[in-house]
Symmetry: C2
Subunit: 187 residues, 2 copies
DNA sequence: GTGATTTTTTAACATATGTAAAAAAATACA
DNA sequence: TGTATTTTTTTACATATGTTAAAAAATCAC
């Protein structure tokens, strides 16, 4: 559980008081490979920290699957579309490996934000970095073709390559698996 | 100048105190069509509000131009990549029309965040919405082909269509102008 | 280890999009 | 109004990617 706190502190230092309050509120859950963490249509009530494991964040459309992002251990995540407005999630989150999550519930996060300036600051910075990462992906999608995106993914995620199937990588890149296979063969 | 305050309040209510402080710190600048608002390589020091006009936010790569976003009047914007880390901007911002901006400088924003919880909350919510919008674009780029993206753009931005050239729309969609022309002809 | 299942690759063909160059249309301006 | 400039469209061709189906390879379960 201390990892959650540690992660937060590395983004923006929290007061002792908040740290204790977080510790008292943190819950934990484990999932086995393939388990659903958040269904489509279910409001996401939590801010998750991945202690161990790997999750994917995806949705179905046009008979295809699109993966927005993978989150491995030592990452904070939430289902942005649902969390911000507390509306039903369009995205599905499942465990790609046996996974342990610690989390704060939405109401607790909001309360922490309300009552503790240092936590509010942390949240602002956390979301700023998240936005920046999403923007980077946006840029890649705009300017890079599939081959460049694949090479970029390999470079940025070498530590995850053994843990993610090529089918999932294709879904992340927004291309068919056949196309990815072709790209890999060309090398 | 009151529009800036009004916009902020519509996202998250500010205390009277902060509002006055913002008013005392707001600066204003006008640009004529074609003026550079922020150069590539220049650190973005400001949080801008568009009183009047239209700006585009773009960059060059591979002998092409890619537009990340258009911001018309009554919008808050900053150059996210540069603002967050106070590093040189990769993106360029120019005025597509005669434009009036009011703005707060980075240090003032940070100071407001530090000193006023309600402003920090506003910034968190503002950035959350920004992140959500960037994510929506991400999704479009992943799943939609150029024709769908064009139709989506037309639907979402009907009020801007007369103010943006087709070349710029193509750059926003991440396709060549020839391709956009073809798409429009197909109808 | 062996057979079943899942994942990955290959092949063949269709469509979408890029590039280059030129034509046409719209706009700016003297 | 007429000319120059800019924007948009069209044409022709090349490449990238999608789809379907089948083959090959890897992994899983017993």
């Amino acid at each position: 559980m201390a990892d959650f706190i540690h992660y937060c502190n590395s983004i923006s230092p929290l007061s002792k008081e908040v740290m204790n309050e977080i510790l008292s509120k943190l819950k934990s859950r484990t999932f086995v490979k393939g388990d659903l963490i958040n269904k489509q249509g279910q409001v996401c009530r939590d801010l998750f920290f991945i202690e161990k494991g790997l999750v994917k964040h995806f949705y179905h459309s046009k008979n295809r699957v699109f993966i927005l992002r993978f989150f491995p251990e030592n990452n904070l995540f939430t289902i942005l579309d649902s969390y911000i407005n507390q509306t039903p999630a369009e995205f599905i989150t499942i465990a790609l490996e046996d996974t342990t999550l610690t989390y704060l519930e939405y109401n607790e996060v909001e309360e922490l934000c309300r009552n503790h300036h240092s936590f509010e600051t942390f949240m602002r910075k956390y979301i700023s970095f998240a936005a920046f990462n999403i923007l980077k992906r946006n840029k890649e999608m705009l300017e890079d073709d599939a081959t460049e995106r694949y090479n970029g993914f390999v470079k940025e995620n070498s530590h995850l390559l053994q843990r993610i199937s090529l089918g999932d990588i294709a879904s992340y890149l927004g291309i068919s698996q056949v196309s990815l296979s072709r790209i890999r063969a060309k090398k």
